[in-house]
């Protein structure tokens, strides 16, 4: 007997078994195994100790928050019975308290009851100063979290929260079981290896084996709240390799059912998809690749005052220059070169969710080199003998930095060429991502210090509410030596009118009104050309054609609805 027969025999037996079960009615575990590949392997299943998407997504199979975002960005209750609002009395009139009610009869995977104490415990677990909780920002401004009875939790804030759905909503802040993590609070949090690898949850799966940075095997949770779900009896979550080979394993060899985050050359992905084994799915969140213009002088001669508001930039402070730089860029070409299906042209730094997308900046889609040249001529920037424009002895010579990444270096080369056409000289620099985005105080190359004229990167925000994200460009958020270079206002943009909008938004609960404010802030940044948006980037994943129920979610874990996944007949 050879291997082929053996394999065929095993497969056959498995197939018979699974059809036999499916013959009855929709029972849990009727569809055998589902295999998922994340080319970044999961290291830990406790999102409070890891900010990595891979870890949060893997954990979302096991532990669940009070509510989650669906693929449209609306909240759906998970552990909670319903979403509290002002209208149903769940959120207090003064916006300082939110009361969550849990579903009745909910069980942990070990068979014990889920109670309000677990929710309170989880909040305190993260808010413990010495624990190094990575989701602490979600628990900002909380005065107290208390259990009113077994199923009711009230979170009180120190100030009015027009959007009180930060803590314990979304896959980054799931509810942990108090009994399991009781000895893991504070300084003991990182030492609880067993708990962090095998959390007890309410999700559709339970961990059977966790191999850090490699493979997780899971089995269906027999205590899952919905009968007949999940359809799969077991789940394999494999990590490692690179995006291209992950795509290949779903689209070309059919070894896996779902592959995450396939940032590879668009034409390669299209070729793989043509084999017909799987489908590429994409979705768009608020992730935007953008240029940040430095409005302050980054000259090394300034010493300590380098890139601080004390010295305005010699030529970037001229709006005509910034506008010309933006007009010279051919955004559709950038999308085609870098992202294909996974990118859209955008003229806003806040393009999503749809209600926040400003309709007022449509002009940027078309490249306009002639217009940019005319604009610079008019502003008095005259071409010198070398073709580079100058005014009063200041040459338009730009240092343009970004992180090391193939697509970003392509973008740099293209943009450098377009800027050359309008008489702007560009020097390119790329920095390793761990350094560029790292907060090392001693490194001159961090994106906060911005010792350059322009920098490019992508940023986004969690969940669907842009308040904190738009707040990044308030005067108080400017990084400087005084605040150890912390803050998200890289362009060093400072406008009292903008700050007023930020303040107004933090006191406004009405969603339409919040959208108006967010659009106004976005327009202010766009129309002063402080931030130059390039590409609205999407998430690209692939699923096998035999896998049904996948709804790509950019607002939450991509595996958010794994309970609804099933095998096609």
């Amino acid at each position: 007997m050879n291997f082929k027969h053996l394999i065929a025999a095993t497969l056959g037996a498995g197939l018979m078994a699974s059809t036999a079960i499916a013959g009855g009615h929709a029972a849990q575990g009727r569809d055998g195994n589902v295999s998922i590949i994340y080319w970044q392997a999961a290291s830990i299943l406790n999102p409070y100790l890891s900010g990595g998407t891979k870890d949060i997504d893997a954990a979302s199979l096991v532990i669940e928050p009070l509510a989650r975002y669906d693929e449209n960005g609306s909240m759906v209750p998970m552990i909670a019975a319903e979403i509290p609002t002002v209208a149903n009395g769940g959120v207090s009139e003064d916006l300082t308290a939110i009361t969550w009610t849990l579903k009745e009869g909910l069980l942990w995977s070990d068979g014990t009851d889920v109670t309000a104490n677990d929710v309170v415990f989880t909040a305190n677990y993260c808010m413990d100063e010495s624990g190094g909780c990575q989701q602490l920002a979600k628990f900002a401004d909380i005065e107290s979290v208390e259990a009113l009875d077994d199923l009711t939790v009230r979170i009180t804030f120190t100030k009015p929260k027009p959007f009180p759905y930060g803590p314990l909503v979304g896959s980054t802040t799931p509810v942990l079981q108090a009994a399991q993590f009781a000895n893991c609070t504070g300084e003991a949090a990182p030492t609880c290896t067993e708990e962090n690898f095998n959390p007890i949850g309410t999700g559709p799966f339970v961990v059977t084996e966790f191999r850090a940075n490699d493979t997780i095997t899971m089995a269906a949770n027999t205590n899952y709240r919905e009968a007949g779900k999940p359809a799969f009896a077991t789940l394999t979550f494999k990590g490692g390799g690179d995006a291209a080979s992950a795509a290949r394993s779903v689209l070309e060899t059919g070894e896996f059912d779902y592959a995450w985050n396939l940032q590879i050359a668009p034409e390669i992905l299209a070729d793989m998809e043509a084999k017909g084994m799987g489908t590429v799915v994409s979705g768009f969140g608020p992730l935007v690749e953008r240029l940040m213009i430095n409005l302050t002088d980054p000259s090394p001669d300034l010493g300590e005052a380098r890139s601080t508001v004390a010295n305005p930039h010699p030529f970037m402070s001229d709006i005509a220059v910034r506008q010309a730089l933006s007009m010279a860029i051919d955004r559709p070409l950038l999308v085609e070169v870098g992202y294909g299906k996974a990118g859209n042209v955008t003229c806003n730094v806040l393009p999503s969710p749809a209600i926040y997308n400003s309709p007022n900046n449509a002009g940027c889609e078309v490249q306009d080199i002639a217009g940019a040249n005319a604009l610079l001529d008019e502003a008095g920037w005259v071409r010198g003998a070398d073709g580079i424009r100058a005014k009063d002895g200041v040459r338009l010579s730009i240092l343009y930095q970004t992180s090391t990444n193939a697509v970003r270096q392509d973008f740099q080369a293209l943009i450098k060429q377009w800027w050359a056409e309008i008489g702007v000289e560009t020097e390119l620099k790329n920095i390793d991502a761990a350094v560029f985005f790292g907060g090392d105080q001693s490194s001159p190359d961090t994106f906060q210090k911005l010792f350059a004229d322009v920098e490019m990167y992508a940023n986004t925000f969690d969940g669907t509410d842009p308040e904190a994200y738009m707040g990044n460009w308030a005067c108080s958020e400017i990084p400087s030596p005084d605040n150890a270079w912390l803050g998200g206002n890289m362009p060093r943009f400072c406008d009292p009118a903008y700050d007023a909008l930020v303040a107004e938004m933090s006191g406004t609960a009405d969603i339409e009104e919040r959208a108006r404010l967010a659009i106004a802030m976005n327009d202010m940044l766009m129309q002063t050309y402080t931030i130059i948006p390039l590409v609205h980037r999407g998430n690209v994943s692939a699923r096998a054609n035999t896998l049904e129920g996948v709804k790509l979610n950019v607002w939450d874990s991509q595996l958010w609805n794994v309970a609804d996944w099933s095998r096609a007949e």
Binding site: N2, F3, K4, L6, I7, A41, S43, I44, N46, L49, S50, G51, G52, E129, G131, G132, C133, L136, A137, P190, T191, C192, T193, F197, E209, R211, A212, N213, D214, T215, G239, G240, G241, S245, R248, E252, T253, G254, E255, F256, K275, A433, A434, V435, F436, F437, G438, G439, D440, S442, S443, Q448, Y457, T460, F461, D462, A484, L486, G487, G488
Partner: protein, 342 residues
């Protein structure tokens, strides 16, 4: 001989301590940040707290001494406890070297990865030696024959074509082009959770090992066969070979007993010195086939600035290299009667 070995072993201790300190210095001076890969949505003050919780705010020498204490004292004590059940000191609360990314003891991570690395990379080394020795012998014996030319050509390819090319090429041929139901279809992704319990799982294990083992084996064979050929050629022209032939010994005996044995001396050294590489894993090949062994663990650690993990792994590699250098020296003395250590 024993004296020599002991003396050398004593000397490795200060060497290794110095190496561990240098590794620590390099890692510490590198502009890397364990919170650098976290999403930008995590605000800076939270990052600062995370760094403090990892102990990064302590001065450099304290962090080094802490690592030394954890690695040289706590880890061996923990091993004693697990293997023999001896409990010395505080067995429960003892601080072990802990990875920042997984928050689990580094030594456990390494132990978990050892099997697949030893199976795949070790097997490829064995396969490489088994291919290389006959090729080297025949190539030298029939110098400039078509076999020698072909052998030279293949080892040149094996040595100069990188594994990330041969690996992907094999995947495209055997996993993508080959129909999934064909007997010759091979999995492109290594399943580390597969347990060999019966013939069918053994078959699966063999199938998933074929491609990574062949890719690495070709590379290893290319190197070793060149050494083997050169060493054989040196010996074939020696006087003792002529004497052996003059005595009327069979050609087979001359070649396989006299020449081969003597030619093996430098080759054995090369092989012994290459063994630490097996433990180091094959970073690229492991990535391509998702073997997820020690090489992949190291690369993930480096990318995530997981300093305790990188420090411990690199140091263990240093220990192996120092030890196998000693082994090579000792083997030399055993194999070659002309060399005696006094």
């Amino acid at each position: 001989m024993l004296n020599f070995t002991l003396r050398r072993l004593m000397f490795t201790i200060p060497t290794l301590l110095l190496i561990s300190f240098i590794i620590f210095l390099i890692l510490d001076l590198a502009p890397n940040d364990p919170t650098g890969n976290l999403p930008l949505t995590i605000p800076p003050e939270v990052r600062e707290k995370i760094r403090a919780s990892l102990g990064l705010d302590a001065p450099m020498y304290i962090r080094y001494l802490l690592w030394c204490q954890q690695f040289f004292i706590n880890e061996p004590l923990n091993l004693f406890n697990e293997w023999f059940g001896w409990c010395i000191g505080d067995c429960e609360g003892r601080l072990r070297v802990t990875s920042w990314a997984t928050r689990s003891p580094v030594v456990d991570l390494i132990a978990e990865r050892m099997p697949q690395t030893l199976w795949v990379v070790g097997m490829s080394y064995l396969v490489g030696i088994l291919i290389a020795v006959p090729i080297g012998v025949i190539s030298a014996y029939k110098q400039y024959s078509w076999f020698d030319q072909a052998g030279t050509f293949i080892s040149m390819i094996g040595f100069s074509v990188p594994t990330f090319f041969t690996g992907v090429l094999l995947i495209v041929i055997f996993s993508v082009w080959m129909p999934n139901d064909s007997f010759f279809w091979l999995p492109s992704i290594y399943d580390t959770t597969l347990e060999v319990v019966d013939w069918s799982s053994f078959g699966q294990q063999v199938r998933q090992m074929i491609m990574p083992v062949m890719v690495l084996g070709l590379y290893n064979a290319a190197q070793i066969s060149r050494f083997m050929r050169a060493s054989m050629l040196d010996n074939l022209s020696q006087d003792y070979v002529r004497t052996a032939r003059a005595k009327g010994l069979k050609e087979k005996t001359v070649l396989l007993v006299h020449v081969l044995r003597n030619s093996m001396i430098p080759v054995v050294t090369v092989i012994a010195l290459g063994i630490p590489q097996i433990f180091g894993g094959a970073i690229i090949t492991e990535q391509i086939f998702k073997v997820n062994g020690l090489g992949q663990l190291l690369i993930i650690g480096i990318q995530g600035a997981d300093i305790p993990l990188v420090q411990t792994l690199t140091f263990l590699f240093a220990v192996l290299i120092v030890l196998f250098n000693l082994v090579a020296d000792v083997l030399y003395g055993l194999l070659d009667p002309r060399i005696r250590y006094e």
